[in-house]
């Protein structure tokens, strides 16, 4: 290919640099154009400091000033002409936007006749400007690097000019050695230098050439300069498709036009780009014809006289070798040096094997070869990681949380409420105590920890005469259950044990940070632990029975944490204001530890756990109509059965008797189903708005409670009433669940016919707002010939499979069919989720109804209480969420959303 231009030196164009020593010399004086731009502001100070102060000035059009660096300010001028009045420089660096680069280059060339080099960092320069820059600089005898260059550097001279080659710590990559690098990839300039260290090789000069269509300082001039650099023993070329630079260089070597006899390790990548018709990645890495990756591989293989390097059978030629991936460069270099009978520059530093610094498989059973253990990172990163680990717990960004929740949602496709991503129908398998921990800590407790959970809840639930006395008074005033409960929470305020527990928990959290406690099995420094506890004030009374149960439970646990084990050693001799609160706090810390480490919960959340637990326990006990006479209370006061199921306790508080297994299961189902219906319910909003007003946690519960009522939470009684009416014939029948299927069906048909008559009568009278049958049909699950509420359907089938019969439920299923068959409905309605609550509630209350001990208002009350017990647990998650993430007053409705009406 003829060029038509003849030159007096080796090249048909001018190249001033004859040795790599001249690329980034120690005495280079640099002027940076657009020095105060975003990128230069970050990079130039580092370059200047690393190079011991080689930036003499900068230019910022129209904004003179200075750039501060750790080794003194760099003066900034408005234009190059001003710089020239005060300074001398021989190297220009250009950071300007593409459209301005050519003009900046001409300005540099025009005003500085002693300019030797220009480094253009800017990417996306037009090809036209590139060729004009070349023409101008060739005329001015200036060597250009780039465009799209991440800079040039010299490890011997400790100089970096131009871009961010080596990042914030160039000294890590730029270690003095004997290998020069010319790379089309800025990133790989750095990476290759790092990789070489693993076989004991450092660098002389590193050049990030850029990979635009025109590469100003290309392979030929690089190799010539490397030949004349006595420090450089070998070179590495990182090559991408596009352009004939490499062929040109190799041909000229073979022709003798340039002398080069040092080994080359060439890495050519980008075979796949031959399939592209447009550039992806580097603008210039789009081959035209015959300059694709495969062609380049052939050029190098022909030059080396051999195929690519095979790490399994390493062979190299005297001229070097081509590698297929950069990770083979160090090994290839090692063999090249051996062939030269030369030693590496230093002892190999590190290796390139897989070393994960972070990881978590979350129980995924990967095959052995993929289960790579987490290792300590290299310095300084290992120190950075250690610092960050001190920050325990999640740190969510605060934001306006009105109408937002990160804990609950209604799944758009299933229409089922979810708490922490799990549908509530999935949660019915858990006990009440498990649900409480799930809500507070986003995880269900381990089964071996459940007795401890029960211990805490049962203990905290033990009521007092004073509270029950007040509750009795409130009931006499016909307050609804939510008002009763609201009285309890309002009274709690920020009770002293709440504050104490926070203080105790902060001790545990500090201890966790100080001792880097991360795992249940981590050793506990007992003496340090005790020392910290000793610093706490107070000396409260210890109940030996409480301590004894705690010790018993921990010792019985198959897998307690070392924290709990440590507690067993000191529990009996605690000298703190409230030893019981301290022990409970320790238990809660034990539950929280994994979630803190995984940053799934905040420190604040963990510090408040005792408060949430105490309030939930207190409220659970508040529905008890038997007062202090309830046998359960006497048990708990005497520390009997403290680790028994809190679900059972909740049942007894609510119904006044001990449940059997099936009743307990149904009760738990009810509680799970009422946990949440999303953050949009007015009960959830009540809690969130109270948090938004910056109230104590107890008041947030008050906010929740005051936003429940007969229309929300207390409406379940309507369905119970309907069922009682339908089963009127059998209200004396204690064993109602034995009622045969035929009889249930008959009742359903009767109810359907009765309703038909009623409906027709109402229509005749022109009444459109006639009563609907509660718990059937649904605004979403309708329209098909047979409709199903998937939530109800799931639980119905589960109960059937578990052999649990509920005639009221069967009645509803028969009823919807009967309504259709009798022409009341045009299709078979679904039995909706509210029915589940109604039928289970009624089944649980049935015994008391039959014995005459359950007046109507009490039935309604129980339905409401069941709702409150479930919902208050779910709302706890919303309170935690809003306290963690929300802002003061964020629940205020903006004025523009309000309407004034008459």
């Amino acid at each position: 290919m003829k060029t038509g231009n003849k030159s007096k030196n080796s090249f048909p164009y001018k190249v001033q640099i004859t040795s790599l020593k001249e690329v980034a010399p120690a005495d280079a004086k640099v002027c940076v154009m657009n020095i105060m731009g975003n990128e230069s502001r970050r990079v130039t100070p580092k370059s200047h400091e690393f190079s011991r102060g080689n930036v003499v000035a900068g230019v910022q059009y129209g904004r003179p000033g200075k750039m501060e660096t750790a080794i003194g300010d760099i003066p900034v001028y408005s234009r190059v002409a001003e710089v020239m009045k005060h300074h001398e420089f021989d190297t220009g660096v250009v950071y300007l936007p593409p459209a301005a680069v050519f003009y900046a280059v001409t300005e540099l060339c025009h005003y500085n006749k002693k300019l030797k080099k220009i480094v253009i960092v800017t990417e996306k320069l037009s090809v036209k400007d590139q060729r004009l820059i070349r023409a101008v600089c060739q005329a001015s005898n200036i060597d250009v690097f780039g465009a799209n260059s991440l800079g040039i550097a010299d490890a011997w001279n400790q100089v970096r000019i131009g871009g961010a080659l080596g990042g914030d710590h160039p000294e890590q990559a730029l270690v003095k050695g004997s290998v020069a690098i010319h790379s089309n990839s800025g990133n790989f300039s750095n990476t290759i230098a790092e990789y070489l260290k693993t076989e004991g090789f450092g660098t002389t000069t590193v050049i990030s050439s850029g990979k635009d269509v025109i590469i100003q300082f290309a392979v030929a001039e690089f190799l010539r300069a490397a030949q004349n650099d006595d420090r450089t023993k070998a070179v590495v070329l990182y090559v991408e498709p596009g352009g004939y630079y490499e062929k040109q260089a190799l041909d000229w070597i073979n022709e003798g036009r340039i002398k080069f006899d040092k080994p080359i390790i060439a890495c050519v990548t980008g075979r796949w780009k031959s399939n592209l018709s447009r550039a992806v990645g580097h603008a210039g890495a789009l081959a035209g014809d015959n300059d694709d990756a495969i062609s380049k591989e052939k050029w190098f293989d022909a030059y080396f006289g051999m195929d690519a390097f095979n790490p399994e059978k390493p062979v190299v030629s005297a001229r070097g070798v081509r590698v297929t991936s950069i990770q083979h460069i160090p090994q290839a270099m090692k063999y090249v040096f051996r062939k030269m009978k030369k030693k590496p520059d230093f002892k190999p530093a590190g290796d390139l094997s897989l070393k994960p610094w972070y990881g978590n498989d979350f129980g995924l059973q990967l095959p052995l070869e993929l289960k790579i253990p987490i290792v300590e990172a290299v310095s300084p990163h290992k120190e950075e990681i250690a610092e960050l680990k001190k920050l325990v717990g999640a740190m969510p960004v605060r934001q306006n949380m009105r109408n937002k929740s990160s804990v609950s949602r209604i799944n758009e496709s299933t229409n089922i409420a979810e708490l922490y991503g799990r549908p509530i129908v999935d949660l019915i398998e858990y006990s009440y105590e498990e649900l409480i921990v799930y809500t507070l800590l986003r995880k269900v407790p381990r089964s071996c920890d459940v007795p401890l959970v029960n211990f805490c809840l049962n203990y905290l639930s033990v009521p007092d005469e004073e509270t029950y006395g007040l509750l009795k008074k409130v009931r006499e005033n016909q307050a609804t259950p939510n008002a009763e409960f609201a009285m309890v929470t309002s009274m709690l305020g920020n009770r002293s044990d709440f504050e104490l527990s926070q203080k105790y928990m902060n001790l545990f959290l500090d201890f966790m940070v100080e001792t880097n406690l991360r795992d249940y099995d981590d050793e506990i420094d007992i003496s340090l632990f005790e020392k910290k506890i000793k610093a706490l004030p107070g000396h409260g009374k210890q109940d030996k029975r409480f301590v004894s149960i705690f010790l018993e439970l921990v010792n019985a646990s198959p897998n307690p944490s070392n924290v709990l084990n440590a507690m067993t050693k000191i529990a009996g001799k605690l000298k703190v204001e409230r030893p019981d609160v301290f022990i409970i706090t320790a238990i809660l810390f034990h539950f929280s530890l994994p979630e803190l480490v995984l940053k799934k919960v905040t420190k604040q959340n963990v510090a408040d756990l005792y408060t949430y637990l105490a309030i939930i326990a207190k409220l659970t006990a508040s529905g008890n109509l038997k007062g202090m006479k309830l046998p359960l209370i006497s048990e708990l006061e005497n520390f009997k059965n403290m680790s028994g199921s809190f679900s059972r306790s909740a049942f007894e508080y609510t119904f006044g008797y001990t449940p059997d297994k099936s009743e307990l299961m149904e009760f738990n189902t009810l509680l799970a189903l009422t946990l949440t219906n999303g953050a949009g319910t007015i009960s959830a909003k009540g809690a969130k708005e109270s948090v938004s007003a910056r109230n104590h946690i107890s008041m947030a519960y008050t906010g929740f409670l005051s936003n429940t009522g007969l229309a929300h939470g207390g409406s379940g009684f309507e369905a119970v009433e309907y069922l009682l009416e339908s089963f009127q014939k059998h209200t004396k029948r204690a064993n109602i669940q034995n009622l045969d299927e035929k009889s249930v069906k008959k009742l359903a048909v009767e109810a359907a016919v009765k309703y038909k008559v009623y409906k027709e009568d109402q229509k005749t009278k022109g009444v459109s707002s006639y009563k609907r049958i509660p718990c059937i049909n649904h605004p979403v699950f309708k329209g098909k010939s047979v409709n199903i509420d998937p939530r109800e359907d799931f639980i119905y089938k589960k109960f059937k499979a578990d052999g649990i019969r509920n005639v009221f439920w069967d009645f509803y299923h028969d009823l919807v069919v009967a309504l259709y068959e009798n022409g009341v409905s045009s299709n078979v309605y679904c039995v909706n989720i509210d029915a589940v609550i109604a039928v289970i509630s009624l089944k649980l209350m049935w015994k008391s109804i039959v014995s005459g001990k359950m007046p109507d208002e009490q039935m309604q009350r129980i339905g409401f209480i069941i709702f409150l017990l479930g919902r208050m647990v779910g709302v706890s998650a919303e309170i935690i969420d809003h306290r963690d993430r929300g802002l003061d007053m964020d629940c205020r409705t903006p004025v523009k959303e309000l309407e004034y009406i008459i």
Binding site: Y13, G167, N187, F188, Q327, I385
Partner: protein, 414 residues
């Protein structure tokens, strides 16, 4: 950004006042075709392709017809003709009916950036109309010239003298070819090729007429906008995904993507041209797309890119791979915030994706970026492994491939 054919070339050549034949588009009236036939006796029918497509003649996609019926027949055949070029099968979308220019001479002329001279070269031969690679030395000439002063008449005269070109074609070429340089230089070309230029005798004058057009443009040169060519004209098969990502192309940071396998199971975010090359080769058909998001993209851009990528690819993916070398100036925290915030928001909307996250990276704010990402993945309970720059990038990519194999098999078994 490439164009071929006179449908696009004719209006561009007009800007340089370079003579062109009459070009009719596919919907032209029969009378217009008849007029051309009356004038010349023949009409040339060619398919219209988007992008830069060559070797149409060799592939039998250029038809010279002598009647309207033949022209319409050719239209039917060529309108949606398919052509394989550079391993890609492209379909035409239309035809042009072009005036047949009789001539004894077919000139090949090309202006192109040469990486050998690092200037613009022109290539010229009067043995055009054929595959120029088949010409012997001495039949074709290539020369470079100063881009500041540009292509001048004397360059053309000197070249034609060296080629010993016939006298009659010298003057028309000397007059007109430099106009192509003006076009090339002022409208953001990197390649401009006319093959053939036919020399038409009109009385005593000889006029060069451009009978085909091939161009490549520099996407970084804003001068292209002066041509007002719609973006879709350049692309052969741009997918919706590619088109959406392309809209984010700004000065800072790359956002180049190319779909590799729409059924791929690894969604890779690659940073830097080097990582792009290496990762795309190793991942091969496992990758949904190839990418380069290097160049320190700002948060919003990274977030939007990730959101788009997740929208298209995450549901089918087993592995989310974030790979790059030791960055020099890309802020790892910023890019990771963008990617993982988008993952968090995707999860909120669509539920937790069944993926494994593999990261291999280095650079400024690396640990802050790793810590941010790991906190988020811990909350979402999405499994992950992060490798620093002291692990081989290729090994990290291979690890991602191995995890993908494992998960693919696991899904198959379940």
């Amino acid at each position: 950004m490439k164009l071929t054919g006179m449908k696009f070339g004719a209006p561009i050549l007009k800007l340089a006042d370079f003579p062109i034949p009459t070009i009719l588009d596919a919907d032209t009236k029969y009378e217009n075709i008849e007029q051309l036939l009356d004038k010349r006796g023949k009409v040339v029918v060619k398919p219209v392709f988007s992008g830069g497509i060559g070797k149409k003649g060799k592939a039998g996609l250029v038809k010279i017809v002598s009647s309207v019926e033949e022209a319409l027949d050719a239209k039917r055949t060529l309108y949606f003709a398919t052509h394989t070029f550079h391993n890609e099968q492209i379909q035409a979308n239309g035809v042009t009916f072009e005036e047949f220019i009789p001539s004894s001479y077919e000139i090949y002329f090309n202006l192109n950036v040469s990486t050998v001279t690092r200037r613009v070269n022109f290539t010229l031969t009067h043995h055009g109309g054929v595959d120029i690679e088949e010409l012997e030395e001495g039949q074709i000439i290539e020369r470079s010239f100063d881009p500041i002063t540009g292509l001048k008449s004397y360059h053309i005269i000197d070249a034609l003298a060296e080629l010993k070109a016939p006298r009659e074609i010298v003057s028309p070429l000397v007059q007109y070819l430099p106009r192509l340089w003006n076009l090339y230089n002022d409208y953001g070309f990197t390649t401009l090729e006319i093959n053939p230029i036919r020399i038409e005798k009109s009385g005593n004058k000889y006029v060069p007429v451009a009978c085909d057009f091939k161009a490549q443009f520099d996407q970084d040169n804003p001068q292209i906008r002066r041509l007002n060519i719609p973006a879709e004209t350049f692309y052969t098969n741009l997918s919706n995904f590619e088109a959406e990502i392309n809209q984010l192309r700004t000065y800072q940071g790359q956002s180049d993507v190319a779909v590799i396998n729409p059924k791929g199971t690894i969604t890779p975010f690659m940073f830097g041209g080097g990582a792009n090359s290496a990762a795309t080769e190793v991942l091969s058909q496992k990758a949904t797309f190839s990418s380069d998001f290097g160049g320190n993209p700002p948060y919003e851009k990274m977030y939007n890119i990730a959101a788009i990528a997740f929208k298209y690819w995450l549901v089918q993916s087993n592995v989310l791979l974030v790979i790059g070398g030791k960055a020099n100036n890309t802020d790892i925290l910023v890019t990771f915030k963008g990617i993982f915030d988008a993952l968090r928001d995707y999860t909120r909307k669509n539920g937790k994706p069944e993926i494994y996250v593999v990261v291999g990276r280095g650079g400024p704010n690396l640990i802050k970026g790793f810590a941010y990402a790991s906190d988020l993945l811990n909350q979402l309970e999405i499994p992950y492994k992060f490798f620093g720059y002291d692990s081989s990038m290729l090994e990290v990519i291979q690890y991602a491939v191995d995890v993908d194999d494992f998960l693919t098999e696991k899904k198959r078994q379940s």
